[in-house]
């Protein structure tokens, strides 16, 4: 309690007042007493002098046994005091209140000696004769130059002491009241001083707890007021700074959260201090099992840890591509020491190169495929020309046969080059689609019927199943027929004899939450955006497609089974894909996963083309 300012101020005030009051009481009562005594002394001196003057001519002074008692009694009555008349030799000649014959020699009383020496004397002492304190005043009685005796007047001091005590009591009571008032005042002042400090404390505590909007109106112009204003200013500045920081942090967090590259920050002990969602995604881990764990526990890849260790030891940026084959991702890993922050902290950036690697593979394969595709007919042409030159020209029927074969090869080359050009044109969007509302049957039937003889020659059953409720679609009929021709032609090519090919079409609805109607179709919702679709399926009972190849069969020249794909240019599916995409549609393939076991083989594959209903 006494630690608070309020009580410290109050207590010191009260102590000060009490000390001052006490001193005052002591000083005042002493002063009053002295004053009273001085007054009394001068009054008694004057009275003694009057009496001495009047008695100077009394004859009894010279008598050895003079009796002045009657005179003493008379004066004592007049003066209401004790009067003693003493001879020069110290004998008491007259006494108003006692029996003078019982009294001893008074020559050596201090007031008497003083009076004889200086002409007047006084003394305060306890009178054994009367039994209480008295003031004695003595003056010599002189006749001319001759000292006749001493006249002494005495008064008891009881009266004075009573006066002084009464006065002291009054002062004490006054002092008590004053002290009480002063205490109350001190408490009030202390309270007044401490209250703004307490209110300030409350506000500061609220600020410390995070409420930076807490403010206090300055109520005074004193130091506390200044402090309040300064505090408010500080809070304003603080709030501004904090807001700026929060904003900045929000921006940084948004950047970190939304960037495609993974970011991991480690401290000097290799513990993960920060990890962004992209890094979690790339590493396939959860945030709660990552923070504050060591990098080795979080990343679990010795290549990345190795890079981090190198960076940590050498203090230099390390860059390396890392293949995380457990997740099938290729990462470019950059580890940089964070010099500005705590020493030993490192920034690990994970760039996802999986897609880039895939594109690179596609491009590499494309070049190797196209060289292969060109080389085969060219080699065959070269052989034919060589044979002709070596003498076949001399044999016209043989020469004719060779020329026919050369024509076939040249036609094949021409077709491939044309298809390549067409693909390039479609890809670059240079081929405008002749869009018109057409019935699905107009797209499906002509190519199927055209290929029916070929299917029958290969011993295959070709059936068509079109749902009756098909709406017309907005399409370039000729181009879509090209797609269907390609798909059915592929089906014929990859299905062994006695197989079956089924071309079907039906309506499909994908709701916004990914539900597919009808549900019979085993369709992954991410394949199709929500909406109304017409689905055309070409299903065969052929060799099927290995799961690894399914994502790649729409690439140029990609051939799942080189031995069986035979004569095609390898561009058909790539062209089909681009035509379907130009219509805003989707094309994909499904095949039951193939293993070596013969039982699975022959389940065939299904190609789907989905076109939006206008």
């Amino acid at each position: 309690m006494f630690r608070s300012i309020r009580w410290r101020i109050a207590v010191s005030y009260i102590l000060l007042i009490l000390v001052v009051m006490f001193g005052l009481v002591v000083y005042l009562s002493d002063l009053v007493r002295k004053d009273h005594l001085a007054n009394l002394r001068s009054q008694l001196t004057a009275e003694a002098q009057l009496m001495a003057d009047a008695l100077a001519s009394a004859p009894a002074w010279d008598e050895p046994d003079g009796d002045l008692d009657p005179v003493a009694h008379r004066y004592a009555e007049q003066l209401s005091a004790r009067v003693t008349l003493i001879g020069v030799d110290g004998t008491v000649l007259g006494e108003s209140h006692e029996d003078r014959r019982q009294m001893d020699n008074h020559l050596y009383r201090p007031e008497v000696q003083q009076a004889l020496a200086t002409g007047q004397g006084s003394s305060i002492r306890f009178s054994r004769t009367v039994g209480y304190e008295m003031m004695y005043v003595a003056v010599p009685v002189t006749a001319g130059e001759r000292v006749m005796g001493i006249a002494r007047v005495a008064l008891p001091l009881r009266q004075i002491e009573a006066n002084v005590a009464r006065l002291r009591g009054t002062i004490l009571v006054a002092m008590l009241f004053t002290a009480l008032g002063a205490t109350l005042l001190a408490l009030h002042i202390a309270e007044r001083t401490a209250r703004p400090v307490r209110r300030l404390t409350d506000v500061v505590q609220r600020m410390a707890a995070g409420d930076l909007s807490a403010r206090l109106l300055p109520t005074t112009r004193d130091e506390v007021g200044t402090l309040t204003r300064s505090l408010n200013q500080m809070a304003d500045r603080l709030r501004k700074t904090v807001n700026t920081l929060i904003e900045e942090r929000g921006r940084l967090a948004a950047v970190l959260d939304n960037m495609a590259d993974g970011v991991v920050i480690t401290d000097s002990e290799g513990c993960v201090r920060l990890i962004n969602p992209a890094a979690l995604r790339l590493l396939g881990i959860e945030a709660e099992t990552s923070l504050d764990r060591s990098l080795a526990q979080v990343i679990r890849d010795h290549n990345i840890i190795g890079l981090w260790q190198q960076c940590f030891e050498q203090g230099e940026e390390q860059v390396a591509p890392v293949e995380m084959d457990r997740r099938g991702t290729f990462l470019q890993v950059i580890v940089t020491p964070l010099r500005d922050a705590e020493t030993g902290a490192c920034l690990v950036i994970l760039q996802d190169l999986t897609r880039v690697r895939q594109l690179e593979t596609v491009r590499r394969d494309f070049i190797s495929n196209i060289s292969h595709e060109l080389r085969t007919p060219l080699a065959s042409l070269k052989a034919l020309v060589d044979t002709l030159r070596d003498g076949a020209l001399e044999d016209p029927p043989a020469a004719q046969r060779f020329l026919d074969r050369m024509e076939v090869e040249v036609d094949a080359l021409t077709q491939m080059v044309q298809e390549l050009l067409e693909l390039a044109r479609i890809e670059s969007g240079q081929v405008p689609l002749q869009l018109a509302l057409v019935a699905v049957a107009d797209i499906v039937l002509p190519p199927v019927e055209r290929l029916r003889p070929q299917a029958e020659r290969a011993g295959l059953r070709l059936t068509i199943d079109l749902s009756p409720d098909l709406p017309p679609i907005l399409a370039d009929a000729q181009r879509m027929q090209q797609v269907l021709t390609n798909l059915v032609h592929n089906a014929i090519k990859f299905t062994p004899a006695d197989g079956q090919i089924r071309v079907s079409s039906f309506r499909l609805r994908v709701s916004s939450d990914g539900e597919v109607q009808p549900e019979t179709l085993n369709l992954k919702p991410e394949m199709l955006p929500p909406g109304e679709w017409v689905l055309i399926a070409v299903q065969d009972t052929g060799v099927g497609i290995p799961a690894d190849d399914i994502p790649r069969i729409f690439e140029r020249f990609y051939k799942a089974d080189r031995a069986r794909s035979g004569g095609g240019t390898g561009l058909g599916l790539a062209i089909a894909k681009h035509i379907v995409q130009a219509h805003g549609g989707r094309i994909w393939a499904e095949s039951p996963s193939i293993t070596l076991r013969a039982s699975v083989e022959g389940k065939g594959s299904t190609f789907y083309v989905a076109l939006p209903v206008p």
């Binding site: 060591s294 080795a296 526990q297 010795h302 084959d325």
Partner: protein
């Protein structure tokens, strides 16, 4: 040395085990992948990299022994250090199996494979997945996980039996395939053994946490019992 430093050293050792684990995981699937792709260069590289695995194992062992000798750890700390020693040696052995697979690739050489590899990569993927999670269980001291993983060994055993039967059909129909079939069986066997070693690691994790050594070998059926 204060307690904090001991904990830190233990933590670093555990991290080293994880790094070794990652190296072994990559070696295991890498060996099968190079076999599948007939990548001789890759197999030679993997055989060379096995030395790094062995070196790492000895480094871990040496550090663990130094820690035991200088700190005289008690109870669970000691069990963790014992587990580190044990797991490091199990990992090194799995690395040896991977090296064996890479050697098989070189032995088969340029001749084409009897059949495209389907089940063998699955075995490798399964064994790697089990190993990865077994090390998870070790780091998190998760005995539930450590008890669950050995049950998955059946899957690897099943694949092994399948590969065995399949290779037998090739051998029966054409005895000239015996050589390669034998080599491929070796690969499958190595993978099956690798998965068994993962079971050992799991047992060790359970011991580390509970102080009780239990045998978690699920009942062996068929061929893998002879391994």
């Amino acid at each position: 040395m204060p307690r904090e430093t001991f904990d830190r050293k233990l933590q670093i050792l555990q991290d080293e085990v994880l790094i070794l684990g990652s190296m072994v995981e990559n070696a295991l699937t890498g060996a099968v992948e190079t076999l599948k792709q007939r990548d001789m260069e890759g197999s030679r590289r993997l055989i060379a990299e096995d030395r790094a695995i062995n070196k790492k194992r000895f480094a871990i062992e040496a550090d663990a022994l130094v820690l035991i000798a200088t700190q005289q750890p008690m109870a669970s700390d000691l069990r963790i250090l014992a587990a580190i020693l044990d797991i490091a040696s199990e990992l090194e052995r799995i690395g040896d199996y991977a090296k064996g697979i890479a050697k098989v690739n070189l032995m088969i050489g340029e001749q084409p494979l009897l059949k495209p590899l389907i089940d063998v990569p699955r075995m490798a993927e399964k064994a790697r997945d089990m190993l990865h999670r077994a090390l998870d269980a070790f780091i998190r001291q998760d005995i539930e996980l450590a008890r669950a993983i050995p049950l998955e060994d059946d899957e690897v055993d099943g694949l092994y039996n399948q590969v065995y039967r399949e290779l037998m059909t090739y051998v029966i129909s054409d005895p000239r395939t015996i050589d390669q079939a034998n080599h491929l069986l070796w690969v499958a066997h190595n993978l099956e053994r690798a998965a068994d070693r993962v079971t050992n690691i799991c047992e060790r994790v359970v011991f580390t946490v509970t102080g009780k050594m239990i045998e978690m070998d699920v009942e062996n059926s068929g061929l893998e019992g002879i391994g």
